[in-house]
Symmetry: C2
């Protein structure tokens, strides 16, 4: 029976999980290290600590299966937006012609955070550790602005200075995100800028240079190294970020149980760097690895314009175009690959979190891909049924969820699907406008173009016997 | 002691109130009727029913102190966003140097609704009554777009068609709101349009005519009268809208008690047409009228550029510029008054809800006013302290709250302040940008200009002996 009064499952703030789930000790094949981009060797502890807050460096390689969440971090969560609700998507089910409880769709609603996505989950943690260490600044880069605004908010909660290098093309096209960051007192620079050596070379040749994420990373890293009171901050890909995001999956687990679901049959999330998908699925993936829920189907959704896992190769590559970020072993389309300008800016990354790659190699999860028109069409269906308009990134997960639900309906199967509603689309409505006016374009990535990108990327040759 | 884990007070969906609070039977002086703009006489029941859904017409004049909320409406609330949280503003208190529990600030967070404000509270109710009556369309006007998007969402939940006439200036300047409405399948027209006689006159002379709220009202009313399956919908001012909004104050009452507060000392809200302020304060105002809480201080906040209550006069006036909306007895600056272009578009109304006027005349509430620069400055302070960026309208309430809290601190008084956080500012970030770049302008309204507006408004002469 349809029961709207129990269709959103809440937790009390004191039920915020007290530990993060660290998947590293349970990985079916060993974790690969991050390497120094200068010499291709594992970065010594001290060197890593010059870049990131010390506690994050420790967490990056920790083998503890559970890592305590400091109470000060849980307090900020409790004060602002966590626990987030878990919704039974009764409106969406009805709009798909699904009745009864044979097929059940749930989504974890991370869009209720102050900046509208899951990003503050790690921003708050990183800001806390930086403050505790006596640091005064965190520096980062941002493309579309989700991560930059997340970190700006996180820093504002601990009276830390936040400096964001924002890709100039976005800086000009997305004024909303920029103003939001500045409202949280962040310092936002269009990249390339004249404030760093890395940026100046490009800025002086062309002050209107549109920039790239790779360049913005270079500027942020350089800026952070200038002061011993500053550190660099990352919003995805690395282990400690995925660790911080596991709060999402842990809450979902408790909430599903409250809703009478022992375990979902299927978990879906969109994949850019892999942090929202990792956050939701890792606590469930651990159970799958350990044989507790061997049959759970875990699906990451990529855009067809940037299918790192679906069409990339698994190898060592630089984390950024400018070869200043660490080298990681991951599925990659090559660090010089420039994805087509799809609206899901957060999914335009040439690589993926090494954790996701390893789980994919071991068949713990699988990857699929969709075109942006079908994705935005799914987003509109969702908005009408559930009342919340998804970000283009998040709409990738919505699209796959709808497909899977209809497939199960067709096959008369019972199925509980859980997906991550990673963010709302209030700052991305242009994608919806283009769809409604028939101007949204799809970009398919031909196999030979991928090969070309991979060939031209001059990927590093790493001697794995060294570690 | 600061306890972040209990700083947001939640209710379960089954605690959504089951009745609305109808203030009419408790008003200290009798309610004034709405009059037909054509002849200045009270509109007959049948005529009113040709304009609004029948149930709303009945509610407009009901003398029942409590009106049941149909379960179908409560279900949509439960499925989507209600009950909304009540926050203890611990971050804001700390940023004001307030410690301990002598001064406590609470805010009811209506920004968590799918369109970011309190507007869906009445949109869902009106859509439900329209559907139940067998209607197929609701037609409305919108200025900045908060109400239009609220009603679009409400209609999408009941598979009703929604038609919105949006003031062309906003239509062009605020594409986000327009796309949001269309994502909820609403039909949105720039006003003046070529689709109505009222619009055509202006459109044909100048297709780029910037429009006005008065004109958009005229178009919406005309459009709605074309089909007996369509009705007109209003987002503020009238009694039934304020009635629907009392769910806000009722939830807040229960939540305060859960937080150990018997009654607040002060209630604050911003006032445009009066619906968010009315929604929060009316359940408390009834207790004040009935001597249960005689000392509670109820404060409505207006912009200095449009101070209907603070500087207007109390008399009969048209609800709109074009004299097509009903005549009401209210505080007014004159129906031809065009407020300066402040960012708080929702507060740019020449009049106010008659209920608010009557309560003001009887000293149940008072009104204050602020400039937009001090208001946006308060909004930034709030964003940094609490993590949520207020809409410019809502920032008026924030400003007054901060002033009152600091006054109490100065005077060493104990005080519990409750205010309505009526909406977030994600679609209004330009106001913040202008403030940060020093380009935000204040508009004071000189008394002689008010007099001029009042004189030129040709306000109707009503013979009150007729009713």
């Amino acid at each position: 029976m349809v029961d709207y009064f129990n269709s959103r499952i809440f937790l009390n703030p004191n039920e915020i999980p007290k530990e993060w789930v660290n998947i590293l000790p349970d990985l079916p094949s060993p974790m690969t290290p991050l390497l120094n981009p200068m010499d291709g060797k594992p970065a010594p502890f001290e060197m890593a600590c010059a870049v990131f807050p010390k506690e994050c460096v420790l967490q990056e390689v920790s083998q503890e299966p559970n890592i305590p969440i400091p109470n000060e971090i849980r307090e900020i969560f409790a004060k602002t937006y966590r626990p987030t609700p878990l919704h039974r998507a009764l409106g969406l089910e009805r709009s798909l012609g699904i009745e009864g409880d044979d097929i059940q769709i749930f989504y974890k609603n991370e869009s209720v955070s102050p900046t509208g996505s899951h990003k503050p989950n790690t921003a708050i943690a990183q800001a806390y550790y930086a403050k505790k260490q006596g640091l005064q600044e965190l520096v980062t880069e941002t493309g579309a602005g989700q991560w930059g605004s997340g970190l700006s908010f996180g820093c504002s909660q601990f009276d830390l200075k936040c400096i964001v290098y924002m890709v100039r093309a976005s800086f000009l096209q997305k004024p909303g995100r920029k103003i939001l960051m500045r409202s949280f007192n962040a310092e936002v620079h269009a990249s390339p800028s004249r404030f760093t050596d890395s940026g100046k070379i490009f800025y002086e040749k062309n002050p209107d240079h549109p920039g790239s994420l790779g360049l913005a990373i270079s500027e942020a890293v350089e800026h952070s190294l200038r002061s011993d009171k500053a550190r660099y901050s990352l919003g995805s890909v690395v282990n400690f970020v995925l660790l911080h995001q596991t709060i999402v999956g842990q809450e979902a687990k408790i909430q599903l149980k409250k809703g009478g679901i022992q375990t979902p049959d299927m978990i879906i999330g969109c994949m850019g760097g892999g942090s929202n998908f990792g956050g939701l699925m890792l606590p469930f993936a651990r159970d799958k690895i350990n044989g507790i829920t061997p049959d759970i189907d875990i699906i990451g959704v990529e855009p067809r314009a940037c299918p790192s896992v679906c069409k990339g190769i698994y190898r060592w590559d630089f984390g950024d175009t400018a070869k200043r970020a660490p080298i990681a072993k991951m599925h990659t389309l090559g660090h010089t690959f420039i994805p087509s300008p799809i609206h899901a800016g957060g999914l335009r990354y040439h690589g993926i979190a090494p954790i996701i790659s390893i789980l994919h190699n071991n068949n713990i999860l699988r990857a699929v891909m969709h075109h942006q028109t079908e994705v935005i069409e799914a987003g509109i269906k969702f908005a009408n049924a559930e009342g919340i308009i998804p970000a283009p990134e998040c709409a990738h997960a919505v699209k796959e969820t709808i497909d899977q639900a209809l497939k199960a309906k067709e096959a008369n199967e019972k199925k509980v699907i859980l997906f991550n509603f990673s963010g709302h689309g209030f700052f991305d409505l242009l994608a919806y406008k283009e769809f409604m006016t028939g101007n949204l374009i799809d970009y398919e990535l031909p196999t030979d173009e991928i090969q070309k990108a991979l060939n031209s990327s001059e990927m590093p040759n790493i001697d794995e016997s060294q570690f």
